[in-house]
């Protein structure tokens, strides 16, 4: 087990290096460098530009030097928690994003949990009562969930809430709780706001989870050990839940690997629609204003979170299924 974890962790570190190179490449993509736009922006607002400050910044980011030197300077800062400077907000990047990242993780984590809570019972039901009305309904709902883009679903929810209840949906907290400490009323307030984005995010993945679970479980239910269990007189719920469901769950855990990237992707756009204080809207804003160090840091951190989430799911999978940790790979 330990060897497995070490192997996976090394693979993860390599992936992280690749992720950081991609993120840095995106920082570098827009024409002109960071300082030129910074100076242009300062001059346009009529600020005086101190040549010494410029010189310092130039040295700090290694501007004008080859790509790998700049990358090295940037990544060594990142490792120490220094993600660079946002020239739009005139503050260090890390200060701006850590709170928003927390919200992102919170919403996405809840979405994963809700996804499983919805998918598990429905998937089991659809498999056990194959071709029943409920099974068909689940299939249809699944297809619709797959075809409706996240942001469109969010728009429709917003529209319905406004027309039916006169509520303007959006945000994660009411204004009075925005900067308050966590307390029971604040948690309540959070859930009163968060259900919509969580629901929207959960639907997209639920459909796929139900489909996989149903297919796996159908395979398992045909096996002789199920017949044996039934013949021994086990109650039906035990026959289903005790072994087949547990076996059918294994491939499901491995889906987190692609579920998580899709979820993070989706949350960016849903957050923009529902105006959530997560990393998504800030990423969009920083990209449109070409605040590249901020944008790069958000892309980097979102990807890092995804990669770490995938690692955790891999380890979980190895824990519940020994065949994987002793397998060839």
């Amino acid at each position: 087990m330990l060897a497995f974890i070490i192997r996976r962790t090394i693979a993860m570190v390599l992936t992280l290096v690749a992720v950081s190179i991609v993120a840095f490449a995106i920082i570098q993509l827009p024409p002109g460098d960071y300082l030129t736009s910074y100076i242009a922006q300062l001059s346009s607002t009529g600020d005086q530009v101190d040549p010494r400050v410029i010189e310092n910044l130039r040295a700090q980011y290694g501007l004008g030097e080859p790509f790998y030197v700049q990358y090295w300077k940037w990544i060594s800062g990142v490792v120490q928690g220094n993600f660079g400077h946002s020239f739009e907000w005139k503050r260090p990047v890390w200060e701006l994003i850590w709170g928003r990242l927390g919200n992102s993780v919170l919403v996405e984590g809840l979405a994963v949990i809700v996804m499983w809570l919805i998918a598990l019972p429905i998937g089991i039901y659809a498999a056990v009562r194959k071709y029943s009305l409920g099974d068909y309904l689940a299939t249809i709902a699944g297809f619709i969930g797959l075809a409706v883009p996240n942001f469109f679903f969010a728009l429709i929810l917003m529209y319905l809430a406004y027309v039916w209840f006169g509520v303007t949906m959006g945000g994660l907290f009411s204004p009075e709780f925005e900067n308050a400490r966590w307390s029971l009323p604040r948690i309540w307030d959070f859930f009163a706001h968060a259900w919509a984005p969580v629901l929207v995010l959960a639907t997209a993945g639920t459909a796929e989870l139900i489909r996989i679970l149903r297919a796996n479980l159908l395979d398992e239910l045909k096996k002789p050990y199920v017949v044996t269990a039934r013949a021994k007189g086990l109650p039906e719920w035990k026959v289903v839940l005790k072994y087949p469901v547990r076996l059918a769950l294994n491939p499901l855990v491995s889906t987190i690997g692609w579920l998580l990237p899709a979820l993070v992707s989706g949350s960016v756009i849903v957050s923009v629609v529902l105006n959530l204080p997560t990393a998504g809207p800030m990423l969009l804003r920083s990209l449109t204003t070409q605040d590249m160090y901020l944008a790069g840091a958000i892309i980097l951190l979102l990807s890092v979170l995804t990669v770490i989430g995938t690692l955790i799911s891999d380890i979980l999978l190895a824990l519940i299924d020994p065949r994987i940790r002793y397998g060839s790979k």
Partner: protein, 380 residues
């Protein structure tokens, strides 16, 4: 005697059926037809692509034609039968006119459908001359009002009083074609890279597979956004279009490469490939003459299933304002207008492009599923 007269008819049919060798395509089509949902979806997809192809002809007016008099005019619908005041019936397509009402609370002008006014509508109506698909000169539209000054908003109007239906139809052209173009490009990368990896294996294969895994483990929208944001703002519409296509396929090729590679790997050990090798056929000949034909159908199915992802990605990017930009009309840029909840409350018909997205995505998914099943006509 009766037997004698019946038997020949039976015998006439049987040898025919036995001798008829159905082509691969024929088999696939037969298999595909059994999948009713896929068949219906095929027609839906064909319909949408026809609309995209004939956009100028089907759209009642120019998508950029605006009219300040009719901002956010509600959908008129299209009526065929009307009852006159004297109880008589009148047939023929028409739309209702508008009357304005002042909202007593907000003191805002709102349009209300005026049932009294009927504006006759004509099929194959005369119009300004235009070029269909930029090639064929025409001066007739599928549908139009007799007097071009009359309001004609079957699906309502947007913020600038532009016809939603016409914009939707022109958006269909852009959104659907970007899906096709993106998949074509992805397919090209996928076949070249996946093909090499699958056919030669070895270190190249492992390297490609690591890259594919890496790209698939990244959240795509932030990446796409980052790449799209780097596009210079002064690029022309055509340049942005191709840049977005390229950006979408930078990630889209991975799935297709995986499919192609898998097919190559499983076919490499087949007897007919070994036979061709022993015959001294070149690699190129083995690939193009023996291997590719045996999995073309699978690749087509996989490509079809990849189109929805492309369309969704374009819509999402344009919706966020980093994809295609305003003068270009696509489903995504149209939905951008629907971002504001207050606008949405006054003009819910702005959501129409979203409905189109859902229908097309569903249809393409079912169609692709049907193709995938049919790709293996001897299976099951």
């Amino acid at each position: 005697m009766a037997v004698d007269t019946v038997q020949p008819t039976v015998h006439v049919d049987l040898p025919k059926a036995r001798n008829r060798r159905e082509s691969q395509l024929g088999l696939m089509w037969r298999r595909f037809r059994q999948h009713k949902l896929a068949l219906v979806s095929l027609w839906v997809v064909v319909f949408f692509y026809l609309v995209a192809l004939l956009a100028e002809f089907i759209a009642p007016v120019d998508p950029v034609h605006y009219s300040a008099r009719y901002t956010y005019a509600p959908p008129q619908g299209l009526h065929f039968v009307a009852q006159n005041a004297d109880g008589g019936w009148e047939f023929g397509p028409y739309v209702n006119g508008y009357k304005t009402e002042i909202d007593p609370v907000a003191l805002r002008r709102t349009f209300v459908i005026d049932e009294e006014v009927r504006i006759p509508v004509r099929f194959f109506a005369e119009s300004e001359p235009y070029l269909l698909a930029g090639v064929i000169p025409l001066s007739v539209k599928l549908i139009g009002v007799e007097n071009p000054r009359d309001p004609f908003y079957i699906l309502g109007a947007d913020r600038l009083g532009r016809d939603m239906l016409s914009r939707l139809i022109h958006g269909t052209r852009i959104s659907l074609s970007i899906g096709l173009a993106g998949v074509t490009l992805s397919l090209f990368f996928g076949i070249v890279i996946g093909g090499f990896a699958g056919f030669y294996g070895g270190w190249f294969d492992s390297a490609v597979m690591r890259v594919v895994e890496f790209i698939r483990s990244m959240p795509t929208i932030p990446l796409w956004l980052g790449l799209a944001a780097a596009m210079p703002k002064d690029w022309s519409a055509l340049q942005t279009y191709f840049a977005i296509t390229l950006i979408l396929s930078l990630i889209g090729w991975t799935e297709l490469a995986r499919v192609v590679r898998g097919r190559f790997l499983s076919l490499r050990t087949e007897d007919f490939v070994t036979a061709a090798q022993l015959d001294g056929a070149s690699d190129w000949r083995i690939v193009t003459r023996h291997m590719v034909p045996s999995f073309t159908s699978h690749i087509i199915a996989a490509a079809t299933l990849a189109i929805p992802g492309m369309i969704l990605a374009e819509t999402a990017l344009s919706f966020l304002g980093l994809g295609l930009q305003a003068p270009i009309v696509s489903w995504g840029t149209l939905l951008q207008d629907a971002q504001n909840i207050r606008t949405l409350a006054t003009a819910p018909w702005l959501l129409a492009p979203g409905v189109c997205v859902v229908i097309v995505i569903l249809a393409l998914n079912f169609f692709g599923d049907g193709l995938r099943d049919a790709a293996d006509p001897h299976g099951r």
